[in-house]
Protein backbone atom coordinates (compact mmCIF):
# COMPACT_ATOMS: atom_id res chain seq x y z
CA UNK A 1 0.00 0.00 0.00
CA UNK A 2 1.86 3.10 1.08
CA UNK A 3 5.57 2.72 1.32
CA UNK A 4 7.27 4.38 4.26
CA UNK A 5 8.69 7.77 3.62
CA UNK A 6 12.42 8.22 3.14
CA UNK A 7 14.29 9.90 5.99
CA UNK A 8 14.79 13.66 5.97
CA UNK A 9 17.53 14.54 3.56
CA UNK A 10 20.13 17.00 4.65
CA UNK A 11 19.56 19.42 1.83
CA UNK A 12 16.34 20.88 0.54
CA UNK A 13 14.72 18.66 -2.07
CA UNK A 14 13.72 20.31 -5.27
CA UNK A 15 10.34 18.77 -5.61
CA UNK A 16 7.38 18.19 -3.39
CA UNK A 17 6.01 14.65 -3.32
CA UNK A 18 2.26 14.70 -3.02
CA UNK A 19 -0.13 11.93 -2.05
CA UNK A 20 -3.64 13.09 -2.71
CA UNK A 21 -6.03 10.47 -1.39
CA UNK A 22 -9.79 10.05 -1.27
CA UNK A 23 -11.73 7.45 0.69
CA UNK A 24 -12.28 5.36 -2.41
CA UNK A 25 -9.16 5.97 -4.44
CA UNK A 26 -5.79 7.64 -4.52
CA UNK A 27 -6.03 10.58 -6.87
CA UNK A 28 -2.31 11.34 -6.85
CA UNK A 29 0.24 8.96 -5.55
CA UNK A 30 3.80 10.12 -5.04
CA UNK A 31 3.45 12.82 -7.63
CA UNK A 32 6.47 15.07 -7.87
CA UNK A 33 5.29 18.64 -8.09
CA UNK A 34 6.56 22.14 -7.54
CA UNK A 35 3.83 23.55 -5.37
CA UNK A 36 0.43 22.77 -3.95
CA UNK A 37 -2.10 25.35 -2.81
CA UNK A 38 -4.61 24.03 -0.31
CA UNK A 39 -7.70 25.76 1.08
CA UNK A 40 -7.02 25.55 4.79
CA UNK A 41 -9.57 26.80 7.27
CA UNK A 42 -7.19 29.63 8.06
CA UNK A 43 -6.96 30.60 4.40
CA UNK A 44 -5.22 29.52 1.24
CA UNK A 45 -1.95 27.89 2.04
CA UNK A 46 0.86 27.23 -0.38
CA UNK A 47 3.11 24.27 0.20
CA UNK A 48 6.55 24.27 -1.39
CA UNK A 49 9.36 21.78 -1.07
CA UNK A 50 11.03 22.16 2.28
CA UNK A 51 7.88 23.36 3.99
CA UNK A 52 7.88 23.03 7.75
CA UNK A 53 5.88 20.03 8.96
CA UNK A 54 2.29 21.09 9.34
CA UNK A 55 -1.13 19.69 10.00
CA UNK A 56 -4.01 21.71 8.65
CA UNK A 57 -7.71 21.17 8.34
CA UNK A 58 -9.17 22.05 4.97
CA UNK A 59 -12.41 23.79 4.16
CA UNK A 60 -14.37 23.43 0.93
CA UNK A 61 -12.40 25.13 -1.75
CA UNK A 62 -9.94 25.03 -4.56
CA UNK A 63 -6.91 22.82 -4.48
CA UNK A 64 -4.33 23.45 -7.16
CA UNK A 65 -1.34 21.35 -8.00
CA UNK A 66 1.43 23.19 -9.82
CA UNK A 67 3.87 21.23 -11.89
CA UNK A 68 6.13 23.42 -14.00
CA UNK A 69 3.65 25.40 -16.05
CA UNK A 70 0.93 22.85 -15.58
CA UNK A 71 -1.78 23.58 -13.04
CA UNK A 72 -4.37 20.99 -12.06
CA UNK A 73 -7.31 22.31 -10.12
CA UNK A 74 -9.68 20.32 -7.97
CA UNK A 75 -12.57 21.35 -5.82
CA UNK A 76 -12.45 19.51 -2.52
CA UNK A 77 -15.24 19.22 -0.01
CA UNK A 78 -13.07 19.13 3.08
CA UNK A 79 -10.20 17.18 4.49
CA UNK A 80 -6.75 17.47 5.93
CA UNK A 81 -3.31 18.42 4.71
CA UNK A 82 -0.37 16.84 6.38
CA UNK A 83 3.11 18.02 5.47
CA UNK A 84 6.07 15.99 6.64
CA UNK A 85 9.60 17.08 7.17
CA UNK A 86 11.02 15.53 4.01
CA UNK A 87 8.84 17.42 1.54
CA UNK A 88 6.14 14.83 1.51
CA UNK A 89 2.62 16.16 1.56
CA UNK A 90 -0.41 14.02 2.28
CA UNK A 91 -3.68 15.57 1.30
CA UNK A 92 -6.81 13.77 2.39
CA UNK A 93 -10.11 14.88 0.96
CA UNK A 94 -13.51 13.38 1.52
CA UNK A 95 -14.59 14.28 -1.99
CA UNK A 96 -12.71 15.93 -4.80
CA UNK A 97 -13.78 16.89 -8.27
CA UNK A 98 -11.60 18.23 -11.08
CA UNK A 99 -12.75 21.73 -11.77
CA UNK A 100 -13.61 21.19 -15.40
CA UNK A 101 -16.30 18.73 -14.40
CA UNK A 102 -18.29 21.28 -12.46
CA UNK A 103 -21.17 22.97 -14.22
CA UNK A 104 -21.28 26.73 -13.46
CA UNK A 105 -25.00 26.97 -14.17
CA UNK A 106 -25.76 24.33 -11.55
CA UNK A 107 -23.57 26.14 -9.07
CA UNK A 108 -25.45 29.39 -9.55
CA UNK A 109 -28.75 27.63 -9.23
CA UNK A 110 -27.65 25.89 -6.07
CA UNK A 111 -26.34 29.11 -4.60
CA UNK A 112 -29.58 31.00 -5.17
CA UNK A 113 -31.58 28.06 -3.86
CA UNK A 114 -29.67 27.87 -0.65
CA UNK A 115 -29.64 31.62 -0.11
CA UNK A 116 -33.39 31.49 -0.41
CA UNK A 117 -33.60 28.63 2.04
CA UNK A 118 -31.41 30.53 4.47
CA UNK A 119 -33.72 33.51 4.35
CA UNK A 120 -36.81 31.42 4.88
CA UNK A 121 -35.30 29.04 7.43
CA UNK A 122 -37.19 28.85 10.69
CA UNK A 123 -35.44 26.36 12.93
CA UNK A 124 -31.79 26.43 13.88
CA UNK A 125 -31.22 23.14 12.10
CA UNK A 126 -32.65 24.48 8.85
CA UNK A 127 -30.59 27.62 9.19
CA UNK A 128 -27.43 25.62 9.74
CA UNK A 129 -28.10 23.36 6.78
CA UNK A 130 -28.86 26.29 4.52
CA UNK A 131 -25.77 28.10 5.70
CA UNK A 132 -23.62 25.11 4.87
CA UNK A 133 -25.18 24.96 1.42
CA UNK A 134 -24.49 28.65 0.87
CA UNK A 135 -20.89 28.28 2.02
CA UNK A 136 -20.16 25.35 -0.23
CA UNK A 137 -21.79 26.89 -3.27
CA UNK A 138 -20.09 30.24 -2.85
CA UNK A 139 -16.79 28.44 -2.46
CA UNK A 140 -17.57 26.54 -5.65
CA UNK A 141 -18.45 29.80 -7.32
CA UNK A 142 -15.27 31.55 -6.34
CA UNK A 143 -13.28 28.47 -7.30
CA UNK A 144 -14.79 28.54 -10.76
CA UNK A 145 -14.33 32.25 -11.28
CA UNK A 146 -11.12 32.81 -9.33
Amino acid sequence: FMEPRPPTPSSLPSKLTVNFVLPYAAELSKAEVDMVIVPATTGQMGILPGHVPTIAELKPGLLSVHEGNDVKKYFISSGFAFVHSNSYADILAVEAVPLDRIDPAQVQKGLSEFTQKLNSASTDLDKAEAQIGVDVHSALNSALTG
Partner: protein
Protein backbone atom coordinates in the same frame (compact mmCIF):
# COMPACT_ATOMS: atom_id res chain seq x y z
CA UNK B 1 -49.83 -38.08 -9.48
CA UNK B 2 -49.62 -38.69 -13.14
CA UNK B 3 -47.32 -41.54 -12.30
CA UNK B 4 -50.10 -43.77 -10.98
CA UNK B 5 -52.22 -43.25 -14.08
CA UNK B 6 -49.38 -44.35 -16.20
CA UNK B 7 -48.87 -47.45 -14.19
CA UNK B 8 -52.43 -48.52 -14.96
CA UNK B 9 -51.71 -48.02 -18.59
CA UNK B 10 -48.52 -49.85 -18.29
CA UNK B 11 -49.96 -52.84 -16.55
CA UNK B 12 -52.26 -53.59 -19.47
CA UNK B 13 -49.33 -53.96 -21.72
CA UNK B 14 -46.94 -56.77 -21.26
CA UNK B 15 -44.05 -54.44 -21.68
CA UNK B 16 -43.16 -52.84 -18.49
CA UNK B 17 -41.16 -49.76 -18.07
CA UNK B 18 -38.99 -51.17 -15.46
CA UNK B 19 -35.53 -49.94 -15.84
CA UNK B 20 -34.44 -50.98 -12.44
CA UNK B 21 -33.47 -54.40 -13.60
CA UNK B 22 -32.27 -55.58 -16.95
CA UNK B 23 -35.17 -56.61 -19.10
CA UNK B 24 -36.80 -59.60 -17.47
CA UNK B 25 -38.85 -61.72 -19.82
CA UNK B 26 -40.69 -63.16 -16.92
CA UNK B 27 -42.78 -60.02 -16.69
CA UNK B 28 -44.09 -60.52 -20.20
CA UNK B 29 -45.22 -64.07 -19.63
CA UNK B 30 -47.21 -63.06 -16.64
CA UNK B 31 -49.24 -60.21 -18.06
CA UNK B 32 -51.31 -59.72 -14.97
CA UNK B 33 -48.58 -58.14 -13.14
CA UNK B 34 -49.92 -55.29 -11.18
CA UNK B 35 -46.97 -53.12 -10.59
CA UNK B 36 -46.69 -51.60 -7.22
CA UNK B 37 -48.53 -48.34 -6.92
CA UNK B 38 -45.36 -46.54 -7.44
CA UNK B 39 -44.09 -47.77 -10.75
CA UNK B 40 -42.05 -44.69 -10.48
CA UNK B 41 -40.19 -46.33 -7.66
CA UNK B 42 -36.95 -45.37 -6.29
CA UNK B 43 -34.51 -47.44 -8.16
CA UNK B 44 -31.99 -48.63 -5.71
CA UNK B 45 -30.17 -50.23 -8.52
CA UNK B 46 -26.58 -51.06 -9.00
CA UNK B 47 -26.01 -47.45 -9.85
CA UNK B 48 -26.17 -45.16 -6.82
CA UNK B 49 -28.78 -42.89 -8.37
CA UNK B 50 -31.87 -42.37 -6.32
CA UNK B 51 -33.95 -40.78 -9.04
CA UNK B 52 -37.67 -41.14 -9.26
CA UNK B 53 -38.55 -41.67 -12.88
CA UNK B 54 -42.06 -41.69 -14.16
CA UNK B 55 -42.28 -41.31 -17.86
CA UNK B 56 -40.04 -40.33 -20.67
CA UNK B 57 -41.77 -37.01 -21.10
CA UNK B 58 -41.51 -36.10 -17.45
CA UNK B 59 -37.88 -37.03 -17.43
CA UNK B 60 -37.22 -34.91 -20.46
CA UNK B 61 -38.91 -31.93 -18.88
CA UNK B 62 -36.92 -32.42 -15.77
CA UNK B 63 -33.64 -32.65 -17.64
CA UNK B 64 -34.45 -29.44 -19.46
CA UNK B 65 -35.23 -27.57 -16.29
CA UNK B 66 -32.03 -28.78 -14.65
CA UNK B 67 -30.10 -27.63 -17.69
CA UNK B 68 -31.62 -24.18 -17.42
CA UNK B 69 -30.88 -23.98 -13.73
CA UNK B 70 -27.31 -24.93 -14.43
CA UNK B 71 -26.94 -22.17 -16.98
CA UNK B 72 -28.34 -19.64 -14.55
CA UNK B 73 -26.17 -20.67 -11.64
CA UNK B 74 -23.07 -20.66 -13.79
CA UNK B 75 -23.85 -17.17 -15.03
CA UNK B 76 -24.38 -16.00 -11.46
CA UNK B 77 -21.07 -17.48 -10.48
CA UNK B 78 -19.22 -15.65 -13.23
CA UNK B 79 -20.92 -12.37 -12.43
CA UNK B 80 -20.04 -12.74 -8.76
CA UNK B 81 -16.45 -13.57 -9.65
CA UNK B 82 -16.12 -10.39 -11.71
CA UNK B 83 -17.64 -8.30 -8.94
CA UNK B 84 -15.39 -9.79 -6.28
CA UNK B 85 -12.37 -8.51 -8.07
CA UNK B 86 -13.82 -5.03 -8.20
CA UNK B 87 -14.80 -5.17 -4.56
CA UNK B 88 -11.31 -6.22 -3.58
CA UNK B 89 -9.88 -3.35 -5.58
CA UNK B 90 -12.19 -0.97 -3.78
CA UNK B 91 -10.89 -2.21 -0.45
CA UNK B 92 -7.32 -1.75 -1.57
CA UNK B 93 -8.03 1.71 -2.92
CA UNK B 94 -9.53 2.85 0.31
CA UNK B 95 -6.53 1.82 2.36
CA UNK B 96 -4.23 4.82 1.73
CA UNK B 97 -6.90 7.13 3.04
CA UNK B 98 -7.33 5.43 6.36
CA UNK B 99 -3.59 4.82 6.59
CA UNK B 100 -2.89 8.51 6.27
CA UNK B 101 -5.64 9.38 8.71
CA UNK B 102 -4.09 7.12 11.27
CA UNK B 103 -0.70 8.72 10.73
CA UNK B 104 -2.14 12.15 11.34
CA UNK B 105 -3.93 10.87 14.40
CA UNK B 106 -0.75 9.41 15.72
CA UNK B 107 1.23 12.58 15.23
CA UNK B 108 -1.42 14.64 16.93
CA UNK B 109 -1.47 12.33 19.86
CA UNK B 110 2.26 12.51 20.18
CA UNK B 111 1.84 16.23 20.55
CA UNK B 112 -1.01 16.02 22.94
CA UNK B 113 0.46 13.43 25.19
CA UNK B 114 0.59 15.69 28.18
CA UNK B 115 -2.61 17.49 27.49
CA UNK B 116 -5.97 16.21 28.48
CA UNK B 117 -7.89 15.45 25.36
CA UNK B 118 -11.59 15.69 25.74
CA UNK B 119 -13.20 14.57 22.54
CA UNK B 120 -16.69 13.16 22.84
CA UNK B 121 -15.98 10.26 20.54
CA UNK B 122 -13.28 8.90 22.77
CA UNK B 123 -15.27 9.08 25.96
CA UNK B 124 -14.97 5.84 27.83
CA UNK B 125 -18.05 5.41 29.98
CA UNK B 126 -19.29 2.52 32.08
CA UNK B 127 -21.33 0.49 29.66
CA UNK B 128 -25.05 0.15 30.18
CA UNK B 129 -26.27 -0.03 26.63
CA UNK B 130 -24.59 -1.32 23.52
CA UNK B 131 -25.46 -0.61 19.91
CA UNK B 132 -24.79 -3.41 17.43
CA UNK B 133 -24.39 -2.52 13.79
CA UNK B 134 -25.08 -5.70 11.85
CA UNK B 135 -23.98 -5.77 8.21
CA UNK B 136 -25.69 -8.34 6.01
CA UNK B 137 -26.25 -8.72 2.32
CA UNK B 138 -29.11 -7.66 0.14
CA UNK B 139 -29.73 -10.78 -1.86
CA UNK B 140 -29.76 -14.44 -1.17
CA UNK B 141 -28.17 -17.38 -2.96
CA UNK B 142 -24.89 -16.75 -1.19
CA UNK B 143 -24.56 -19.89 0.85
CA UNK B 144 -24.33 -19.46 4.59
CA UNK B 145 -23.12 -15.88 4.47
CA UNK B 146 -26.09 -14.08 5.94
CA UNK B 147 -26.80 -16.91 8.30
CA UNK B 148 -23.36 -16.78 9.88
CA UNK B 149 -23.56 -13.10 10.59
CA UNK B 150 -27.05 -13.32 12.03
CA UNK B 151 -26.08 -16.27 14.19
CA UNK B 152 -23.13 -14.30 15.47
CA UNK B 153 -25.41 -11.36 16.17
CA UNK B 154 -27.80 -13.57 18.12
CA UNK B 155 -24.92 -15.02 20.10
CA UNK B 156 -23.66 -11.55 20.94
CA UNK B 157 -27.15 -10.46 22.00
CA UNK B 158 -27.36 -13.45 24.30
CA UNK B 159 -23.97 -12.59 25.74
CA UNK B 160 -25.04 -9.03 26.39
CA UNK B 161 -28.23 -10.24 28.00
CA UNK B 162 -26.34 -12.49 30.39
CA UNK B 163 -24.08 -9.57 31.23
CA UNK B 164 -27.21 -7.63 32.03
CA UNK B 165 -26.59 -5.00 29.36
CA UNK B 166 -29.21 -3.36 27.26
CA UNK B 167 -28.80 -3.40 23.50
CA UNK B 168 -30.11 -1.92 20.29
CA UNK B 169 -29.49 -3.07 16.74
CA UNK B 170 -28.81 -1.07 13.61
CA UNK B 171 -29.40 -3.34 10.68
CA UNK B 172 -27.72 -2.78 7.34
CA UNK B 173 -28.77 -4.93 4.42
CA UNK B 174 -32.12 -6.30 3.30
CA UNK B 175 -31.50 -9.79 4.65
CA UNK B 176 -30.77 -8.53 8.12
CA UNK B 177 -33.68 -6.12 7.90
CA UNK B 178 -36.18 -8.86 7.15
CA UNK B 179 -34.67 -11.06 9.86
CA UNK B 180 -35.04 -8.43 12.52
CA UNK B 181 -38.44 -7.34 11.28
CA UNK B 182 -39.67 -10.84 11.94
CA UNK B 183 -38.38 -10.64 15.46
CA UNK B 184 -40.01 -7.66 17.09
CA UNK B 185 -38.57 -8.52 20.45
CA UNK B 186 -35.15 -7.25 19.34
CA UNK B 187 -35.10 -3.47 19.48
CA UNK B 188 -33.89 -2.02 16.22
CA UNK B 189 -32.96 1.57 15.89
CA UNK B 190 -32.73 1.90 12.17
CA UNK B 191 -32.99 -0.14 9.03
CA UNK B 192 -30.64 0.74 6.23
CA UNK B 193 -30.27 -0.89 2.87
CA UNK B 194 -26.97 -2.12 1.71
CA UNK B 195 -25.75 -1.35 -1.76
CA UNK B 196 -23.75 -2.79 -4.59
CA UNK B 197 -20.94 -0.37 -4.16
CA UNK B 198 -20.57 1.05 -0.70
CA UNK B 199 -19.39 4.63 -0.86
CA UNK B 200 -18.59 7.20 1.75
CA UNK B 201 -22.20 8.36 1.51
CA UNK B 202 -23.65 5.11 2.80
CA UNK B 203 -20.95 4.90 5.43
CA UNK B 204 -21.85 8.43 6.45
CA UNK B 205 -25.48 7.53 7.00
CA UNK B 206 -24.48 4.80 9.41
CA UNK B 207 -21.80 6.98 10.96
CA UNK B 208 -24.29 9.77 11.59
CA UNK B 209 -26.71 7.48 13.33
CA UNK B 210 -24.02 5.87 15.42
CA UNK B 211 -22.47 9.22 16.22
CA UNK B 212 -25.70 10.73 17.46
CA UNK B 213 -26.49 7.67 19.55
CA UNK B 214 -23.10 7.71 21.18
CA UNK B 215 -22.72 11.41 21.74
CA UNK B 216 -26.20 11.78 23.16
CA UNK B 217 -25.17 9.08 25.63
CA UNK B 218 -28.01 6.83 24.61
CA UNK B 219 -25.53 4.06 24.09
CA UNK B 220 -22.16 3.69 25.70
CA UNK B 221 -20.53 1.38 23.23
CA UNK B 222 -20.95 0.68 19.55
CA UNK B 223 -19.95 -2.62 18.05
CA UNK B 224 -19.73 -3.45 14.40
CA UNK B 225 -20.57 -6.95 13.17
CA UNK B 226 -19.42 -7.69 9.67
CA UNK B 227 -17.81 -10.45 7.66
CA UNK B 228 -14.15 -10.09 7.19
CA UNK B 229 -12.85 -11.11 3.82
CA UNK B 230 -10.12 -13.65 4.35
CA UNK B 231 -9.93 -15.38 1.00
CA UNK B 232 -12.18 -16.49 -1.80
CA UNK B 233 -13.31 -19.56 0.05
CA UNK B 234 -13.03 -18.37 3.60
CA UNK B 235 -14.67 -15.50 5.39
CA UNK B 236 -14.96 -14.64 9.00
CA UNK B 237 -17.76 -12.87 10.85
CA UNK B 238 -16.11 -10.55 13.34
CA UNK B 239 -17.13 -8.09 15.96
CA UNK B 240 -15.28 -4.80 16.10
CA UNK B 241 -15.70 -2.09 18.62
CA UNK B 242 -16.39 1.10 16.74
CA UNK B 243 -16.90 3.55 19.57
CA UNK B 244 -15.41 4.74 21.85
CA UNK B 245 -12.47 5.35 19.59
CA UNK B 246 -9.05 5.20 20.98
CA UNK B 247 -7.62 8.69 20.61
CA UNK B 248 -4.45 7.13 19.40
CA UNK B 249 -6.20 5.58 16.42
CA UNK B 250 -4.32 2.47 15.65
CA UNK B 251 -0.59 2.63 15.96
CA UNK B 252 0.04 -0.06 13.55
CA UNK B 253 1.11 -0.97 10.09
CA UNK B 254 -2.02 -0.94 8.02
CA UNK B 255 -1.45 -3.71 5.55
CA UNK B 256 -4.58 -5.69 5.95
CA UNK B 257 -3.00 -8.06 8.42
CA UNK B 258 -1.39 -6.09 11.13
CA UNK B 259 -3.89 -3.42 11.93
CA UNK B 260 -6.74 -5.79 11.64
CA UNK B 261 -5.09 -8.23 13.92
CA UNK B 262 -4.12 -5.52 16.32
CA UNK B 263 -7.53 -4.00 16.19
CA UNK B 264 -9.15 -7.31 16.76
CA UNK B 265 -7.06 -8.07 19.70
CA UNK B 266 -7.45 -4.62 21.04
CA UNK B 267 -11.13 -4.38 20.60
CA UNK B 268 -12.41 -7.83 21.29
CA UNK B 269 -11.23 -8.01 24.81
CA UNK B 270 -13.52 -5.45 26.26
CA UNK B 271 -16.66 -5.28 28.35
CA UNK B 272 -16.06 -7.54 31.27
CA UNK B 273 -18.84 -7.51 33.83
CA UNK B 274 -20.43 -4.54 32.19
CA UNK B 275 -17.36 -2.41 32.65
CA UNK B 276 -15.16 -1.34 29.85
CA UNK B 277 -11.78 -2.92 30.30
CA UNK B 278 -9.51 -1.82 27.57
CA UNK B 279 -7.04 -4.52 26.94
CA UNK B 280 -4.42 -4.07 24.33
CA UNK B 281 -2.79 -7.12 22.93
CA UNK B 282 -0.86 -6.81 19.77
CA UNK B 283 0.11 -3.33 18.83
CA UNK B 284 2.88 -2.79 16.42
CA UNK B 285 4.24 0.69 16.47
CA UNK B 286 5.20 2.03 13.11
CA UNK B 287 8.56 3.71 12.91
CA UNK B 288 7.54 7.16 11.97
CA UNK B 289 9.81 10.10 11.75
CA UNK B 290 7.84 12.33 14.01
CA UNK B 291 9.06 15.84 13.80
CA UNK B 292 9.20 17.87 16.99
CA UNK B 293 8.60 21.10 15.11
CA UNK B 294 5.25 20.05 13.75
CA UNK B 295 3.17 23.12 13.25
CA UNK B 296 -0.54 23.20 13.68
CA UNK B 297 -2.60 25.54 11.62
CA UNK B 298 -5.27 25.27 14.23
CA UNK B 299 -5.69 24.09 17.74
CA UNK B 300 -4.81 20.38 17.80
CA UNK B 301 -7.94 19.55 19.69
CA UNK B 302 -10.00 21.13 16.94
CA UNK B 303 -8.20 19.07 14.36
CA UNK B 304 -8.77 15.94 16.40
CA UNK B 305 -12.43 16.85 16.66
CA UNK B 306 -12.71 17.00 12.91
CA UNK B 307 -10.51 14.00 12.30
CA UNK B 308 -12.23 11.41 14.40
CA UNK B 309 -15.60 11.46 12.62
CA UNK B 310 -13.70 11.04 9.37
CA UNK B 311 -11.86 8.10 10.86
CA UNK B 312 -15.13 6.61 12.02
CA UNK B 313 -16.50 6.98 8.53
CA UNK B 314 -13.52 5.27 6.95
CA UNK B 315 -13.78 2.37 9.39
CA UNK B 316 -17.42 1.83 8.60
CA UNK B 317 -16.72 2.09 4.88
CA UNK B 318 -14.03 -0.53 5.14
CA UNK B 319 -16.37 -2.86 7.01
CA UNK B 320 -19.04 -2.41 4.34
CA UNK B 321 -16.58 -3.07 1.55
CA UNK B 322 -15.15 -6.16 3.18
CA UNK B 323 -18.64 -7.43 3.87
CA UNK B 324 -19.56 -6.98 0.24
CA UNK B 325 -16.43 -8.77 -0.92
CA UNK B 326 -17.16 -11.73 1.37
CA UNK B 327 -20.76 -11.88 0.23
CA UNK B 328 -19.68 -12.02 -3.40
CA UNK B 329 -17.09 -14.69 -2.66
CA UNK B 330 -19.71 -16.75 -0.81
CA UNK B 331 -22.12 -16.38 -3.70
CA UNK B 332 -19.43 -17.46 -6.10
CA UNK B 333 -18.72 -20.63 -4.14
CA UNK B 334 -22.39 -21.40 -3.61
CA UNK B 335 -23.26 -20.95 -7.26
CA UNK B 336 -20.22 -22.95 -8.30
CA UNK B 337 -21.36 -25.83 -6.13
CA UNK B 338 -24.89 -25.50 -7.45
CA UNK B 339 -23.61 -25.67 -11.02
CA UNK B 340 -21.63 -28.79 -10.25
CA UNK B 341 -24.59 -30.43 -8.57
CA UNK B 342 -26.84 -29.49 -11.44
CA UNK B 343 -24.52 -31.03 -14.03
CA UNK B 344 -24.24 -34.20 -11.99
CA UNK B 345 -27.99 -34.40 -11.63
CA UNK B 346 -28.40 -33.86 -15.31
CA UNK B 347 -25.98 -36.65 -16.04
CA UNK B 348 -27.83 -39.07 -13.81
CA UNK B 349 -31.20 -38.12 -15.19
CA UNK B 350 -29.96 -38.45 -18.75
CA UNK B 351 -28.65 -41.88 -17.97
CA UNK B 352 -31.97 -42.98 -16.52
CA UNK B 353 -33.78 -41.42 -19.43
CA UNK B 354 -31.70 -43.25 -21.97
CA UNK B 355 -32.14 -46.54 -20.24
CA UNK B 356 -35.87 -46.09 -20.15
CA UNK B 357 -35.95 -45.05 -23.75
CA UNK B 358 -34.05 -48.13 -24.80
CA UNK B 359 -36.24 -50.33 -22.65
CA UNK B 360 -39.28 -48.87 -24.31
CA UNK B 361 -37.88 -49.43 -27.76
CA UNK B 362 -36.96 -52.99 -26.92
CA UNK B 363 -40.39 -53.55 -25.48
CA UNK B 364 -42.09 -52.28 -28.62
CA UNK B 365 -39.94 -54.47 -30.78
CA UNK B 366 -40.78 -57.46 -28.65
CA UNK B 367 -44.44 -56.58 -28.89
CA UNK B 368 -44.27 -56.55 -32.64
CA UNK B 369 -42.36 -59.78 -32.70
CA UNK B 370 -44.75 -61.41 -30.29
CA UNK B 371 -47.68 -60.17 -32.28
CA UNK B 372 -46.20 -61.46 -35.48
CA UNK B 373 -45.55 -64.77 -33.76
CA UNK B 374 -49.11 -64.98 -32.53
CA UNK B 375 -50.42 -64.45 -36.01
CA UNK B 376 -48.07 -66.93 -37.55
Amino acid sequence: MSCSNLTMLVSSKPSLKDSSSPLSFRSFIAPVQIPSSNACNNSISSKPSFSIHCSLRDLRTRIDSVKNTQKITEAMKLVAAAKVRRAQEAVVNARPFSETLVEVLYSINEQLQTEDVDVPLTNVRPVKKVALVVVTGDRGLCGGFNNFILKKAEARIRELKTLGLDYVVISVGKKGNSYFLRRPYIPVDKFLDGSNLPTAKEAQAIADDVFSLFVSEEVDKVELLYTKFVSLVKSDPVIHTLLPLSPKGEICDINGICVDAAEDEFFRLTTKEGKLTVERDVVRAETMDFSPILQFEQDPVQILDALLPLYLNSQILRALQESLASELAARMTAMGNATDNASELKKNLSRVYNRQRQAKITGEILEIVAGADALA
